[in-house]
């Protein structure tokens, strides 16, 4: 690793064309993509929410399905951002050499990665929004505060996109991403308050969850969806912003090291 890899990012507005490129691909596959993105979270939300929820009393002062809806908005954003930056990102970086082609034009790797992170955040934003719309349609939320979910989901998308791009920069092949999913994404989804309140966990694990970005996204999303102001807004936003910024920067450093040898 050389010092030049650590220099601060220098962006140009041309990153927008990277975003537009990905949009054009997505538009060709939009319907199956949306349905695919929606199916998995819906199965969790409706299956667990109504099935398991029927046997449960109120959780955190609301029906279990409403409790779960807020968590699933965040986790589906996480999933979508991770898949996009890892599997699709790796295709563009390593298999199709799309990034190499772009860097022969007047764009730099910094622009490419910014375009990719904003793109993946946009795509995962749609996933989060799709779940939110279903929750609204089912009457699981009806507060005006829910509008704050919109920027929150985008921020969460940036967080998990940046983290995904770190994995992509390190990855020798597609198989590598399985480690990240089984060792990071799935455990995080289980202990960050998506399926049950973090308070149910032993204190030691609760402390761990405080370091995980998904915990902070859920901690903001759930009260907003149930119509109450979240506690510690600044803290949660600070953690998410720090993850987004540090994740992106680290991804950039690692990708520079990989591609700009």
């Amino acid at each position: 690793m050389k010092t030049k890899h650590f220099r601060l990012p220098e962006f140009s507005l041309r990153f927008v064309h990277v975003w537009r490129r990905n949009l054009l691909v997505w538009r060709k596959l939009a319907i199956p993509s949306i349905l695919g993105n929606l199916a998995d979270p819906m199965i969790y939300m409706l299956g667990l929410g109504y099935g398991l929820g029927a046997m449960l009393p109120d959780v955190g002062g609301m029906s279990y399905v409403a409790f779960l809806a807020a968590g699933i908005v965040c986790s589906s954003t996480m999933m979508s951002a991770s898949y996009e930056t890892m599997y699709s990102g790796f295709s563009r970086m390593h298999v199709q050499k799309t990034w190499d082609g772009i860097m022969n034009a007047p764009l730099t790797l910094d622009d490419v990665l910014l375009g990719e992170v904003v793109w993946a955040a946009s795509k995962s934003f749609l996933s989060g929004m799709a779940v939110l719309l279903v929750a609204l349609a089912l009457g699981l939320t009806n507060s005006a505060l829910v509008l704050w979910i919109i920027p929150l989901v985008f921020l969460a998308g940036l967080v998990f996109s940046g983290m995904g791009l770190i994995m992509t920069a390190l990855s020798p092949s597609y198989d590598f991403f399985m480690y990240y999913f089984t060792l990071a994404v799935t455990p995080m989804m289980l202990i960050s308050g998506v399926f049950f309140p973090v308070e149910q966990l032993p204190p030691a694990i609760q402390a761990v969850t405080l370091a995980l970005p998904l915990t902070h996204a859920v901690a903001l999303a759930r009260p907003l969806m149930s119509g109450t102001l979240p506690h510690d807004i600044i803290l949660h936003l600070a953690v998410l912003t720090a993850y987004a910024a540090a994740g992106f920067y680290l991804a950039l450093v690692m990708t520079r090291r990989r591609l700009l040898k």
């Binding site: 030049k4 490129r21 054009l24 764009l107 700009l260």
Partner: protein
Amino acid sequence: MTPLPHLNVSKLRKSYDGHEVVSGIDFELRRGECFGLLGPNGAGKTTTLRLCLGLTDPDSGTITMFGLPVPQNAREARVRIGVVPQNDNLDPDFTVRENLLVYGRYFGLATSEVERRIPALLEFAGLHTRGGSKILELSGGMKRRLTLARALINDPDLIFLDEPTSGLDPQARHLIWERLRNLMNQGKTLFLTTHFMDEAERLCHRLAIMDRGRIVACGAPRELIARHIEPQVIEVYGEDAERWAQEYGMRASERCEKTGETFFCYTHDADPIVHHLDARPNLRYLHRPANLEDVFLKLTGRELRD
């Protein structure tokens, strides 16, 4: 005053993990010429190209493109260049036309402007009936031509071509060469890397032969042949070639070298050798004028490079 060269490279060095890949090279590209960089695999051609594009930083030395320092102002310089990479990186998700559209936007061109340029480029690439085709439906030659058209979307002054005809059949290669000559006639400057000698001899005004990170010779193809090689070559092969070379060939020629099972006899006067061979029907031979490949093999050696 002579016009500023499009690209000037001076005392360029680059090493990876203590192994020097580019060891102090100098060259320049004059406006409107086709300059070739030749070398065996691993000679440092692709690294040189990446350095010139500003994709990697040199350890020392300077690169100036259109008067701009590279890599510092590489982004600005790249506005005026086109690149045909060694391996096609066309977008498989897009049609032929979309590939050009998306690529043109990277240069900051408006969609309408790119769309205005596309028909002429498709015509140039012989793909005017394939605008709506998927990349997977194209042959290797078509993909190369599309990659070339894509490199022209910003109407560049300087075009980098990294082994542009590798993997193509002879028909497809001739078509690419014809298009490249067409570009030269339009006044474009070309920077070509290749290990095909016929390609270099055909296209390049000047070329540099690179080996182990150094430029070992530089000049016009004819001039390099005249400077480094005897004008006549007789290639001798067949079962008895070895014995013939030992007994006669090595003595009768000025230089005699072996590659594989063929003996190459270099000389100024081929007649005596040809007469000698004509009397020996069990030996097969080819008498020809010296070419760039002879220069290349003499300067870079005959052993295999991997």
